[in-house]
Symmetry: C2
Subunit: 748 residues, 2 copies
């Protein structure tokens, strides 16, 4: 396999070239002054190379070296970086961040002087929180401070306890070089001989030999581990949402690491040789990824929260990250109804919490006593909704081929068919479902619009037909079929798991409006007593687990619906794609239904890790960063993309190129397309639609056949006949353009 | 409030005493040689002070200084540590770890020389992942390397983006001191004058003034934030498992941070002044805490995983932490049936997964077609069981005053009353429930034992009466009442949330044995075809969310039951108390029920953050450490405690002192006691038992009245009339002894 044991972070190349001429060396970047690279490049009046250029040059050089090698050759490439591990790179970032996509095995050169124990361990920790494996720590023997002794003991203890033994360095100390008569002059006569002899000796020393052997051992262990990982996973792991008869070691993708929008994963190159190759994480890791994999700020934040708290019980206590995240969410959601934040662990639990909240509120207002166990109380929702896999959340969805497999599933509710937004053959249109065509509502089967934005100009569109239809259906369900409802539960705008179905926002607004405007449908209550923030008709829950917090380019999809829900559930992107966390944010009017002198009337739902500080901290840091990105007026990927979509504030835009998206919608294999924020969804024509379809798999095969000029591959997780691509919220637009070209190439 | 802005990590005290005599200084620890403290103490042939002694000396000195102050005085105390932030302490640990319990505001002194950018940022990161807030970074102005310029820009950018602005330092650079003629001699005549003038000037410089002002600002902000936190939380947070009418700002405890078994929280001292005081986390933060709050190794592990991966999708991919954790768990659970690990986010979701697994297996073997929606399929369990708060897990528990409040709750199953282990008046005994007394089984109401261990010697006890009883009940339920069962679901040994009820292990074994030995009760199947690892009768699920992974002193409670479950659910302690993660580990025989050519037959359950690398990594690291502790033959808290309980291998023991536990059981207010592993549960006599009781609250009031000589308080989360104390798995035994004394004092 192509992973080579390449050591970074060694020092003083020029010196090596002079005194150890046998070593084959080359200098990729050089400046005149021996100062930090960011200063050196300035002083030389040069334009600094970009981080991408530096990495590409390194990879190119390594490939050249690799090609020259005979199959049986054993050679080593050491990449020396400049100065300390966090010394600035030529363009001012930190070097350890810059080199991170390569994640090469690392040799840390330690400091044997006074204070060197501290700086060496700190450097190691800085590398660790960036995901590096530090195989080796080299330093000089020195008898006064004896740093090597301490560090040997320290790291050998750490290694013994660590689950990642190869990421904790083996410490090797070597004799220091001879004193030179004047370090600035290198007095040629005597010093040259002394120094070359020193390098000759050292390179043959048992310490250096054992260093090489250990590096080789780590390298081979790493390769071996990557090679067998899929096999072992196939035997040991029970995969989520999978039919295991379709899984084999061949289909399992072993991930070494990840950075930005990319996995670093084991793939096969054109000669069927296994290599580590970047693959674009097209599912944004099940829609969670926000600020890039391996984000160093979020990693430091995770460490900070774990180091400051770990987890602390959250019943009757409060800690800064949980409180501030709650405040941040309420201000961000910008909905005057919302005031209270309840924490849980994932979207599914958060939906169950929301339902418990809503049903209790409905129960106390309308006298549906919860003690009655009226299991027939249901939700009002949309068909093809998905709210999670725990039984309560499943029960809030209509029966499907999937959930009816589950013995305890028992769907309770009414689910509307809905008008869907589609980009077909370059035109944005609404497709009205058959139910709405029959009712004398004068709706056409397809209604075309000039732009996607036009669909979102709700004020200029006629909401009445929708309201009329919805009211008549609800009336029938309640009055004729004697159904009880306890909540409206909607995924605003985009029904993700159901197949990336984009709903007409006007229809969802109409549904909420009808429920709020005709409360008498649901029970008897003097509505005039309610204040403006109180829930009316039924509590309205927005499941923004997928659509919320900027995923679609907006803080909250609710704004685009011009509707304020009573309860909002957020998860996934909430933590920027690092750890699970969910919030169910509710109004005081719902909260008050639980107040009573009786303990048992409280919302008796809780998870052990409720509001865990690591999750809350990462979420707060991530939301700050997302907010910053959304407001950044410099040439960010946001502003560039908005401009390309011709979008002013509060208008629809996407990181995906408008013209590419339109072009893709023109191909005959394509049924329709939708793009918004970081999401691009392509629905393929296929006889068996939905989950059962294999259309996405065919695309996948095409892509893996492509080899993509080896720069990167695509990791696709299709939804039946829907292929979708979702980037982080700070993507490299150049990569997205390349992906659009691959997609276009496939259809051509 | 008593938090003082004290700055750590400044340098060179001796120098300051000489040249800036106006500063009031004192040296708490001093050694002859200017080398790392761990070496200096050796060279001086001294016994190093313990970390506790060092901290106590600092606190004492600060208290003295504080007492001398007039109310209006404004003074500063700076604590200078030795060398770099990770320089060794006298006894060999890292200084930043040693000082961590105090978590004082920190001034980092940066390095203005070549390479200083890297060492300074790394030192900052090492402090951050230990939970420190670095308020200020001081360094000398220097014109060649210009580190101050870079660091100012770097940290001001970090601060702008950070959600914790005060934990990212403001950078202040000051003029360097004058060159001295010989730094080793300090030539008195000229140098003394120069140097004292320098300090005079510097101390009056605008930079140093602004540094003080900024420190003061950060301090006041911190105090303010702690003071208002409870008020704000009362308005913004919806607490888990709580009746909010009983919550007020006064009852909410604001946590500044946590370390080991302690919260650092806002409490009132004897003069009703708010101070930061350690409080023992008696609930082990809802039973999650394993290796101490703010554990630096787990924090570094969290950072490593976040930096290496973030989250990566886990459908059809594999990464090292998930695979290795799965392998580790299977080997640790040491149950030949178990082979497959399914990941989810918390105990409740993991139980739902287990139930879906079991019901499908039962359905395919006995022909209970899941398509039938036979919602009456139920579980066999014990009364007062608790499995989580999502609807599916709730449905697996019998109706109670709590779950019947939830509209969609619909309990499905049969739950046995059970014989309970109790330490009453110094004697370990079993209390047999009435149901088992009536059946001609010859069981006494109370059965006494010589020791707790005797109860666990299952082979020497008579299992027949239990089996006879269980069989007759099941037969009646199935044959007369026509009930269908799909799984056995048990919390082995200790029913936690139900009130820390300890179950006779023989009864649970008997239940499993009856189900496996009489499969014909549940359906028709040719059992002779089954291999030895296959499930028999019904799949047996152990909910080890609370009891598993060493909480009770053993890797798995299953071993003590001498019974191998088909499915085990682990969570809580799994990640050592940092982030949520759950595993449902199952046998191949269950797994195979889901294999089919049809996608829809798979286990279609999945959470976005399935097997998130941060959780898996922390879990793996934590399990390694727990295993290490359990096998450590040195004088660890484990071995000491086992010895005190007179326990050899595989015998019952606890961190809680055997004699104290027995003594507590003697008090007339105490109904019974149970202790095992890190758990001590005291059931109080109370007319209204269960959750409705306020007995624990009375104890709480007593404790908060005690003031506990100010060393630490107790944070109690009672379970009605049960008060329990749960330590981490590496507790400071001295603290536990103090707690036992408080308990005894309360009852006396």
């Amino acid at each position: 396999m192509g992973v080579r044991p390449i050591a970074e972070l060694v020092t003083i190349l020029g010196h090596v070239q002079k005194y150890a001429p046998k070593a084959e060396t080359c200098c990729l970047f050089q400046y005149s002054l021996p100062v930090s690279p960011h200063l050196a490049v300035q002083k030389d009046n040069k334009t600094p190379p970009s981080e991408k250029e530096i990495l590409q040059k390194i990879v190119l050089e390594l490939q050249k070296k690799n090609q020259k090698l005979d199959h049986h050759d054993e050679q080593w490439a050491l990449i020396e970086t400049a100065g300390g591990v966090l010394s600035p790179s030529p363009n001012g970032g930190l070097q350890a961040d810059m080199y991170r996509p390569l994640r090469l095995p690392t040799i840390l050169v330690g400091d044997s002087k006074l204070g060197g124990i501290s700086t060496t361990i700190s450097a190691y920790e800085s590398l660790k929180i960036r995901g590096y494996d530090v195989n080796l720590l080299l330093l000089f023997q020195e008898s006064v401070y004896q740093n090597a002794n301490y560090l040997k003991e320290y790291f050998s203890y750490q290694q013994k306890k660590s689950a990642w033994k190869d990421s904790v360095p083996k410490v090797i100390s070597i004799l220091p070089p001879p004193e030179v008569s004047d370090p600035n002059l290198y007095c040629e006569k005597t010093d040259f001989k002394q120094m070359t002899e020193y390098y000759d000796d050292v390179s043959r020393s048992p310490e250096i030999r054992s260093a090489y052997e250990y590096l080789k051992f780590c390298h081979e262990k790493r390769i071996k581990s990557l090679e067998v990982m899929a096999d072992n996973a196939d035997k040991r792991i029970w995969y989520p949402f999978s039919q295991h008869s379709k899984i084999s070691p061949k289909s399992i993708i072993a991930l070494d690491s990840a950075y930005g929008d990319f996995f670093q994963s084991v793939t096969k190159d054109s000669s069927a040789k296994e290599i580590l190759q970047p693959q674009f994480d097209s599912s944004a890791s099940w829609w969670t990824q926000g600020l890039g994999h391996g984000n160093p700020e979020l990693a430091l934040t995770a460490g900070y929260a774990a180091g400051r708290y770990g987890h602390v019980i959250f019943a009757g206590t409060v800690h800064d990250p949980a409180l501030r995240l709650a405040n941040k969410l309420v201000s961000l959601l910008d909905n005057k109804r919302l005031s209270r934040v309840f924490y849980s662990d994932n979207g599914s639990t958060g939906i169950e919490v929301a339902l418990k909240m809503a049903f209790k509120a409905t129960g106390s207002r309308y006298g549906l006593k919860s003690e009655l166990h009226n299991n027939e109380i249901g939700v009002i929702g949309l068909k093809r909704s998905y709210h999670g896999d725990t039984i309560g959340s499943m029960n809030a969805c209509e029966e499907s081929v999937y959930n009816k497999q589950v013995n305890w599933y028992n769907g309770k509710g009414y689910w509307f068919e809905f008008p869907q937004i589609k980009l077909c053959k370059g035109t944005w249109c609404l497709e009205i479902p058959d139910g709405l065509l029959d009712d004398g509502l004068n709706l056409p089967k397809f209604k075309c619009f000039q732009s996607l934005n036009e669909i979102f100009e709700l004020d200029s569109r006629d909401i009445q037909p929708y309201k009329q239809y919805i009211f008549s259906v609800l009336k029938k369900e309640i009055q004729e079929k004697k159904r009880n409802f306890g909540a409206v539960l909607l995924e605003p705008l985009l029904l993700g798991a159901g197949g990336m179905n984009a709903v007409d926002p006007l229809f969802q607004k109409a549904l909420v409006d009808v429920v709020r405007e005709t409360p008498s449908l649901f029970g008897e209550f003097e509505n005039s007593k309610l204040n403006s923030k109180a829930w009316q008709g039924l509590p309205v829950i927005f499941d923004e687990v997928f659509t919320g917090l900027y995923r679609l380019g907006f803080k909250s999809a609710a704004k685009l619906l011009q509707t304020e829900p009573d309860i909002v559930v957020n998860a996934k992107l909430l933590t920027g794609g690092v750890v699970p966390l969910c919030t169910t944010t509710s109004s005081d009017s719902i909260f008050e239904s639980f107040l009573s002198p009786e303990k048992v009337d409280g919302l008796l739902h809780g998870h052990s890790y409720t509001a865990h500080p690591v999750g809350c901290s990462i979420a707060l840091q991530s939301l700050n960063e997302l907010e910053h990105l959304s407001q950044d007026n410099s040439s960010s990927s946001w502003k560039i993309s908005m401009k390309k979509w011709g979008s002013s504030d509060n208008q629809i835009w996407s990181f995906w190129d408008k013209f590419s998206v339109e072009k893709i919608s023109q191909f005959h294999q394509v049924k329709c397309v939708f793009a918004m924020g970081s999401v691009l969804a392509i629905t393929l024509k296929d006889i068996s639609s939905g989950y059962a379809s294999n259309a996405a798999e065919e695309f996948n095969e095409f892509v893996s056949g492509l080899q993509l000029d080896k720069e990167f591959g695509l990791h696709i997780r299709g939804l039946g006949n829907v292929i979708y691509f979702m980037s982080s919220m700070n993507p490299d637009l150049e990569s997205l353009r390349k992906i659009e070209n691959i997609i276009i190439k496939y259809f051509e």
